[in-house]
């Protein structure tokens, strides 16, 4: 059962957000799917496609995901694509939306993706499907962040103000439920700017609430986020996953080949440790810089699989900034999640 409600956030919220950001073109959109039932099934599946024809890659990945989801219609499909330039990205998105309804497709441009089946670089699409009666998904879009071209060196205060506001808009825009479990942020705001977005979201959900996610590919002409099958730049999206399940998180930082591999193994093992419920999915928002340091991409995946095994659906992607538990000396101990770089952020979902 999937009830979809599309709500332009109320005028009051819109005016409030505009007044905070000083942005006349602000738009916040909201999507809600599913009404999580305690004890209901949760289906999380992953599929991927790689093809120089972006439409074919998107469609093949989506068809594979649909087959894996079986009779369960997904509440949301998260896309992590790695194609060059707007036209090819759009074709990949259309390929996915030729299989799934546009309104349930969310995600962002990345530097590649990985799953239990392997690592994919250019000309690829990775997909995560989320469905079942035991989980619901609420999504929000925040357009016109107003940060394109701003730098930390010259515009830190402006970035802080705009992104904290946007983070609060997004977290608030998903609506709050008693069974909210995990907030996923995907933004055209790379590290270290992503920390401001997280701080804004934490004003709404609290400093100890689990948040994960990643920053879109920051390269010129590539920095898109996707909301209901449409492309946006200078924007951010949020997905709130709610229901009768648990999450556990871990983050690890590294900057050279050997440490990227060993830190991935340690992070994956920590996120899995102490499990009392059965894992049904793992999210891994990983750093593109870490990927660049790897002599063989599959070495890090193999290390992750030591920690999580080879059967739990794994949705991984390479980003320009990661959100989760920071593995840095000067981290704020009063918060669970931070926006940082050079990390792999694991979130294990269990039921």
């Amino acid at each position: 059962m999937c009830c979809v409600e599309k709500v332009g956030v109320g005028l009051a919220v819109l005016i409030f957000a505009c007044s905070l950001s000083g942005c006349g073109a602000l738009f916040v959109d909201k999507y809600v799917a599913g009404d999580a039932i305690a004890g209901g099934d949760i289906v999380m599946q992953v599929a991927a496609g790689q093809n120089v024809d972006p439409f074919a890659a998107g469609r093949a990945a989506a068809q594979a995901l649909k087959d894996k989801m079986g009779q369960t219609a997904p509440h949301a499909v998260i896309i992590a694509e790695c194609f060059e330039d707007r036209a090819d990205k759009n074709r990949a998105l259309k390929g996915v939306c030729s299989v799934f309804p546009r309104r349930i497709v969310f995600g962002f441009a990345t530097y590649g993706s990985f799953s239990q089946a392997g690592c994919l670089d250019v000309d690829s699409v990775g997909l995560l499907g989320i469905g079942g009666e035991g989980i619901s998904v609420a999504a929000a879009l925040r357009e016109n962040l107003g940060i394109a071209g701003l730098t930390m060196e010259a515009d830190e205060n402006e970035l802080q103000s705009r992104l904290q506001t946007a983070g609060a808009d997004l977290a608030g825009g998903t609506g709050r439920r008693k069974d909210d479990r995990l907030l996923v942020l995907m933004a055209d705001a790379h590290s270290p700017k992503n920390q401001f977005l997280v701080e804004g979201a934490q004003r709404v959900v609290g400093r100890k609430f689990p948040i994960t996610g990643g920053s879109a590919n920051k390269n010129a002409g590539q920095s898109y986020v996707y909301y209901q099958g449409r492309m946006y730049t200078d924007s951010a999206i949020a997905l709130m996953l709610s229901g009768d399940f648990e999450v556990s998180q871990s983050g690890r930082q590294a900057k050279d080949n050997a440490k990227v591999i060993s830190s991935a193994a340690a992070g994956a093992a920590e996120a899995m440790a102490g499990a009392t419920a059965k894992p049904f999915g793992v999210l891994a928002y990983n750093c593109a810089g870490r990927k660049g340091k790897l002599d063989n991409l599959s070495d890090e995946l193999a290390a992750i699989q030591i920690g999580i095994g080879k059967t739990i659906p794994l949705f991984g992607c390479y980003c320009a900034g990661e959100i989760g538990p920071a593995d840095i000396a000067e981290k704020n101990t009063g918060v669970l999640s931070s926006g940082v770089g050079w990390h792999v952020m694991f979130t294990v979902l269990r039921k």
């Binding site: 060059e84 530097y111 670089d121 250019v122 394109a148 071209g149 701003l150 730098t151 930390m152 060196e153 790379h190 590290s191 920051k218 390269n219 010129a220 002409g221 590539q222 900057k255 050279d256 750093c287 593109a288 810089g289 870490r290 990927k291 660049g292 340091k293 320009a320 000396a329 000067e330 770089g341 050079w342």
Partner: protein, 357 residues
């Protein structure tokens, strides 16, 4: 400008140049260190890992400590390295930058101070750069306006400026070299020696090393770009070496006519007193190199200005050691005018990084 200077510079050759200040008698029976801070391969503000390279060129083991000094206000670890390299052993010592600020000049003053347990101290000051290619696809047309978001690497030879800029995408490697020179000598078939102005550059996977014997195999992709005068003539790129070629090939004075590399786009334009060399090369022609954000590669440049400064060598400006000159590092070609000693090695650190914003 990239400059480096040894505090106790004594022009008596390598042994004395790097010898400890106290009690130095040259390398015989002594440990003698060569020191260098490698260029950053991504902007320092992104918190990269940097590297100090050290080589013991003496004939006994060295035991001591090397202190690293980066610009004031930066936070980095470690700030010193305990080390004990054996004779002729090289070490590459990583350090992590936690807090740093990028500069518009792309020049960073650094210093290494080596203190031997047995006594004696040497130091080296350098101005290093961020040697990195941001992600972008420029139009190859001789107009450098779309290189504004690159990271310029500037060096000066005999008062003449060179600026190297690079970009990358998943499919293309692009380079722009501005060469300040009095006049431009173009390439013509059967060119005579010492008449051709050109830019020669080489790419290789990160960490590659150049061999020292003619039978050793090359592990680089080496190109030459030059102006071709004439109303309808197209500027040219030549492929001089690729991985697997015997290094001995580099010593043959080959005609360029048969080495044209048609897959490259090249434009050479004169603008005032500066020649702009602009070129893009598909990564498909360099399959050993994986174009990926954060990936380290090797990239180096020789500028040929035979009627002006002679050869301008990025390797020298980047602070390579004298011992890193290698005649097998660069290919000869008909029309080239080499200097003596040979150029520095072509395996200089360079990075593929994300776009500026």
């Amino acid at each position: 400008m990239v400059a480096d200077r040894y505090v106790q510079f004594v022009a008596l050759g390598m042994a004395v140049l790097f010898a400890p200040l106290a009690g130095a008698n040259g390398p015989a029976g002594r440990a003698v260190l060569e020191l260098r801070v490698q260029n950053f391969t991504v902007p320092p503000s992104t918190g990269p890992v940097g590297h100090v390279v050290v080589r013991n060129v003496g004939d006994t083991a060295y035991k001591g400590r090397v202190q690293l000094k980066l610009p004031a206000g930066w936070i980095y670890t470690p700030t010193a390295f305990d080390l004990s390299p054996a004779p002729l052993e090289s070490l590459r010592l990583p350090f992590t930058i936690d807090k740093a600020v990028d500069t518009k000049t792309n020049s960073y003053a650094v210093e290494l101070i080596a203190t031997e347990d047995a006594g004696g101290e040497i130091s080296r000051k350098q101005n290093i750069v961020c040697a990195g290619a941001p992600y972008f696809k420029p139009k190859i047309d001789g107009d450098i306006s779309d290189w504004a978001d690159s990271i310029p690497v500037t060096f000066v030879v005999n008062g003449k400026r060179c600026v190297i800029r690079t970009y990358w995408t998943k499919r293309l490697w692009s380079v722009c070299v501005e060469v300040e020179e009095t006049k431009l000598g173009g390439y013509r078939k059967n060119a005579e020696g010492g008449t051709v102005d050109a830019v020669q550059f080489a790419l290789a996977v990160g960490g590659a090393e150049t061999g020292s014997k003619p039978d050793d195999k090359a592990n680089r992709y080496e190109f030459l770009i030059a102006d071709c005068p004439g109303l309808f003539a197209k500027d040219k790129c030549f492929l001089l070496a690729r991985p697997g070629d015997a290094l001995g090939l580099s010593q043959q004075v080959r005609r360029l006519d048969g080495l044209e590399f048609a897959e490259a786009k090249v434009v050479v334009k004169r603008k005032g007193k500066t020649t702009v060399y602009e070129c893009s090369i598909p990564f498909s022609a360099m399959p050993q190199i994986r174009p990926d954000t954060g990936r380290d590669i090797c990239f180096s440049v020789l500028v040929h200005d035979p009627d002006g400064t002679g050869i301008r060598d990025w390797g020298k400006a980047a602070g390579l050691w004298q011992s890193q000159r290698n005649k097998y590092a660069w290919c000869s070609w008909q029309g080239v005018k080499w200097a003596d000693p040979p150029p520095y090695d072509n395996k200089i650190e360079w990075g593929l990084c994300s776009s500026k914003y």
